[in-house]
């Protein structure tokens, strides 16, 4: 799922944190969240991986933890949380 996030600053710390949660190492290539440029509008696009493609892990909302780790580092956590909730509704109805 891809979301528009005008207030995302593109720091990509969420990608780092997510990959660490999955693998115990920092490797943004495998993370469930991916920050994409948004050439036509302010901010960035947030891609949440629904199904693993062999490289990236599917987002499981950090099940088993208190809260998704990406939220810990996001400046706009309420907005990101909203996206995660939508994903949750879709993948875990």
């Amino acid at each position: 799922m891809i979301f528009q996030m005008p207030n995302c600053g593109g720091c990509r710390t969420c990608e780092l944190a997510c990959s660490f949660k999955h693998t115990g190492t920092y490797n943004p290539e495998v993370s469930s969240i991916q920050i994409l440029d948004n050439p036509d509008a302010p901010g960035f696009q947030i891609r949440l991986v629904e199904n693993s493609d062999g490289t990236r892990f599917a987002c499981d909302l950090c099940s088993g933890s208190d809260a998704p780790v990406c939220l810990e580092y996001c400046h706009e956590k309420e907005i990101l949380q909203g996206f995660l909730l939508e994903l949750g509704k879709k993948t875990q109805p």
Binding site: G9, T13, T25, Y26, N27, E29, P39, P42, Y73
Partner: protein, 645 residues
Amino acid sequence: MYGYAGEILRVNLSDRSIRKEPSEKYVRDWLGGPGFAIKILYDELRSWVTPYAPANKIIFSSGPLIGTVAPGACKMNISTLGPVTGGWATGSSDSHVGGQLKLAGYDAVIVEGKAKAPVYLYITDDQVDIRNADHLWGMTTWETLAAIRQELQDPTRHIISIGPAGENLVRGACIIQDTNRAFGRCGSGSVMGSKNLKAIVAKGTKPVRIANPDRFAAIVKKSRKMILGGKNVERFRKYGTLSIFARKQEVCGMNYKNFQHATFPEDVAAKVDPVKTIDKYMVARRSFPGCPVGCGRQLHFTDGPSAGIKVECNQFEAAITLQGRLAVEEPTFMYRANARCNELGIDIDAAGGAIGWAMECYERGILSKEDTDGLDLKWGNEEAIFELIRKISYREGFGNILAEGSFRAADIIGRDSARYAIHLKKQDLYEPLRGANGWCLGAVTSTRGGGHTTGAPWVETTGTVDPVKAREIFGAEKTDDPISYDGKAQMVLHSEILQRASNCLGICIMNTTVIDLDYPDLKEIAELYSAATGVEVDVAALKRITMRQLNLEKAFNLRFTDFDRKDDYPEPRQYNEPISGGALKGWKFDKAAFNRMLDEYYDLHDWERETSFPTRRTLRALGLDAVADDLEEIRKLGKEDSQST
């Protein structure tokens, strides 16, 4: 290895050889980033190497914390033998490329030799290509980014590149990350240009490992909390370093008309106030990995003379090095001029400094339209300024003289114009030096020729210093009394250690006590490093390692330049002239006090007072006995106990 990628890549553009060597041997004594670089450059550059010679080497490095979530861990470093000062040239900047280099498996990339035709480096994991860049040569940095992204069919690829300024060996040319982050100072862009190296593109997928994940998580959490709890975070997030504009005007920390004045006229300050501009035109944020602050932003001008223009916002630096120095009153000028310099790949201080010298000379009748290609260089003439920025970047006409920087331009022109060339160690000066003695001392003694990120304390003039905390951190009183000469040497020493440690690890210094005494300091940095890498260091070890670096930087400069004590003073205008107006009107340097402060600074470092040269005693204590031998051979070894003579 943990934190570190484990390898250093060595690319020779002359014979196109590509070699890899382990980073391990540099880790314990040199930490990373510029620490690795100074050691490698000192060991490998013979005294006859000059900045544009193929034998010069330029080193791109990513400190051990880059690629992790450590606070502000995004600052790549680029170091070389530089063409502006002739000595140590270094700069750190926000970069996604640094993270990609780390993921590709490299702590540093050493580029040596010279390519026969323009090339760019393409680095992905184990694949390292030297690719043809004929089609990119001549492009601006922005065009280069677009072209490479198109070529690689990857719209999010990050690069560093030079623009026409670097290609034309403009002395103050810089290196730009993507479009708007600059490895600005010291002319590293022209060194890249001299090697026919247009760009470096990196993408990696090798994981960065952490030695002690729980311990690392704990210190990251603690450090982030310290930063997010800071009093000024919200304001900084909104306005970045431009948030200090009003304060700097209050404390006479500005530059108006080539340092003739230390404040803007009040009506001009009100007009160009960046807070108003940002409030009106900010459309988006810009942040970098790991940073809890996120102080960048995009501006979109919707009306006025800049209508339609979209740019990334600049730092405070542009407000005084371009807007104020050149006395432009249109408030959106600084953003456009900063962007233009980034496009063309020229340092805003190199451009502002040279043009500022020219405008003052024009004002005084030293230069006329005959000299300036017909341009009317009256203060504030925007059109002429943009035309000169272009001419400088392409070395056209009068721009060819200005491309050498104000010091050398004044040498070419003569006519007693040197007194208006405002520089430190031949590098055009950004920092106002009056009215804040710690800041001044840190800038004038800096081994890279001015600058405030390798030893200048920032907090003297922020007005929020907790004296108890300051005493603890700096080991000095009077830390919030900017015009005192006491305790400033201690403040600079602490700043030298902290800023170097941060630069080596890849942390942005604006996530440390450099900017706010409640933020992480050396203790937290030592813990972040130890937890991430498994290499245990404490604060004392950080002090030793960074002092080792500083002393090697000094020795490097002693090999390649004639810098000594005479080059550790404010330039003549600010050293001699009283402040013309504002809160500190009439204030001028007490030269006896300044000299005592400088003596104290040398004593603290155990350097000879008369010359500034390191002593064998201090070098030996840092494991640099062989360096003492080198200095003795060139008769630049400092005499011990010079304070008693």
